[in-house]
Each structure stands twice: as structure tokens, then as C-alpha cells.
Symmetry: C2
DNA sequence: ACATTATATACCGATATGGGCATATGTCAA
DNA sequence: TTGACATATGCCCATATCGGTATATAATGT
């Protein structure tokens, strides 16, 4: 077996820095391929390939506009990453340090009657 | 050129699900290799290899205890992932939806006189 | 019909992966 | 010393990557 396909996961898709850059650009709004080519200074076929990966994991949507293809961000598949990594927050954040953690978490569960979404 | 090495990044290291599992186990406390082998039902050499990757990106620390090697979590390298993915929260969270976003963010900046860390 | 522009795909090469098994290294106990 | 246990490393294979170049596909303008 080899490494998992880049199209398996958002985890795998996003491990490639250029794909993260693409998403960063798209987060400001939809863009045709050539914009990305110019902004990121990459060859066009490379951008198209990266976009394919991003599309296959659902991180971008496409829309035809004349001879252009407008790509837009769809962050949904990033949620699992966020959820997973969030549970480790305590291991770098001061606020979640050592003994305080219990108290802190009690406090949180109270505060969570505030902004639960989804 | 090929895909970036798994040891390049936390991004790359963590793209492999078994490595995430290892971290999940270690988040409860340090463990010798054989514990991981048993808990995750993987062959010992495989676990050792995954641990090597995790060590090289700084996600785990090792400590010798007799003939065992105790591995422990070090979440710090995960922070960049968290920071990056956090900026996309709005694209899946109800709370950050569309027009509300401005109002919502204003509200946040007020609330942020609450728990800023680091 | 043709040329131009925008994008996608095909093919190639180099590389390093994850998992398999076998073996080396290291530590303790009799 | 010898043996048992714990872990790391070496070597093999199949695979898919990223990037490059060349070409296909598609839409527009003349």
C-alpha cells in the first residue's frame, strides 16, 4: 500500500501547501483559474490539477461563466479537521493548562448556553 | 518532485489516520509502544514507524523507562493547523453566516474581553 | 471557418510512502 | 551468559504523488 490518496480526505487534500494557498485566495471570493495562476505564480496545468483534487474532496465548487470556470470555496469539509484539532487546544494554550483544565471546562459548559451552532 | 514528506509538517504527518489515532491515545497520557500496538491493533514495526514520523515533526516526546520507551503527546505543532482552519469556520458554521457575520463579529470583539490567551 | 483565449487532461520522471517480514539493538532477569 | 522481552531498523513492493511539457477540449470573436 502507498500513501492515502490526496482525494481521500480534506486532511490529505490540505496537506499540500499550494492547495491551502488556493483556498486562501478563494476565501475572498470566487475566481477563474487564470486569476489563481497569476496570483500564485504557478503554471496553469498545475493549478487545474490542484483544483481537481480540491473539487473531489468537495472543498471547491465550480460554475461555468463563458469560457471561464469560476471556482469558489466550500469550507464544509474542513470541519472535521477543525473538530479534531480543537480537542488538542489545551496542549498549546495557556488557558487550558494543567489543573485549571477542570475548572475551565466546567466554566465552558456553562458558557455554552451561549452560541451553539449547527 | 513527489509529494511532500510526511515529516515536513504537522499537516502532512497528521494526514495519516493511524497517526491521528496514536495521538488520540496519547492525549490521555504517556504510553509505551506496546500499549499502542495492542490498543490500535497494529503490528509493532508499523507503530514504531508512525511514531518516528510523529517524533520528527515534534508531535510526540520520548522518555526511556527500563526497556520501554514512553511516548507522550506534544500538541504544539498542531497550532498552525488550528490557526489555519479556524479562519474558515464561517464557511460551515451557522453562526458566521452571511450578513449576520458583521454583527456577529462586533458582538465577538466585545465578548473577547473574556478569555484571550497566549 | 478560423484564430484566440481559457481550461483540462495525458504522459513522463523522480520520489517516498505504508505495510509486509526479518533482523538488529537494547534492557532486564536467572 | 543466556534467554526473554521491548523497540527500532532494513529491505521489499505497489502505488500515487507533484511538477513538467504537450496536447485536447471548449467557448468567443472575426
Amino acid at each position: 500500500m502507498a500513501r492515502a490518496a490526496t482525494t481521500t480526505d480534506a486532511f490529505n487534500a490540505v496537506a499540500e501547501p499550494r492547495r491551502r494557498q488556493i483556498l486562501d485566495v478563494l476565501s475572498a471570493g470566487e475566481r477563474p483559474v487564470n486569476d489563481l495562476v497569476r496570483l500564485l505564480r504557478l503554471r496553469q496545468p498545475l493549478v487545474s490539477k490542484h483544483l481537481r483534487v480540491l473539487r473531489e474532496v468537495g472543498l471547491v465548487d465550480v460554475r461555468d461563466r463563458g469560457r471561464q470556470r469560476m471556482y469558489s470555496l466550500n469550507g464544509h469539509p474542513l470541519k472535521p479537521i477543525h473538530d479534531w484539532v480543537k480537542t488538542y487546544e489545551r496542549s498549546w494554550s495557556r488557558r487550558f493548562d494543567r489543573l485549571d483544565v477542570v475548572l475551565e471546562e466546567l466554566k465552558e459548559t456553562k458558557e455554552d448556553n451561549r452560541g451553539n451552532d449547527e
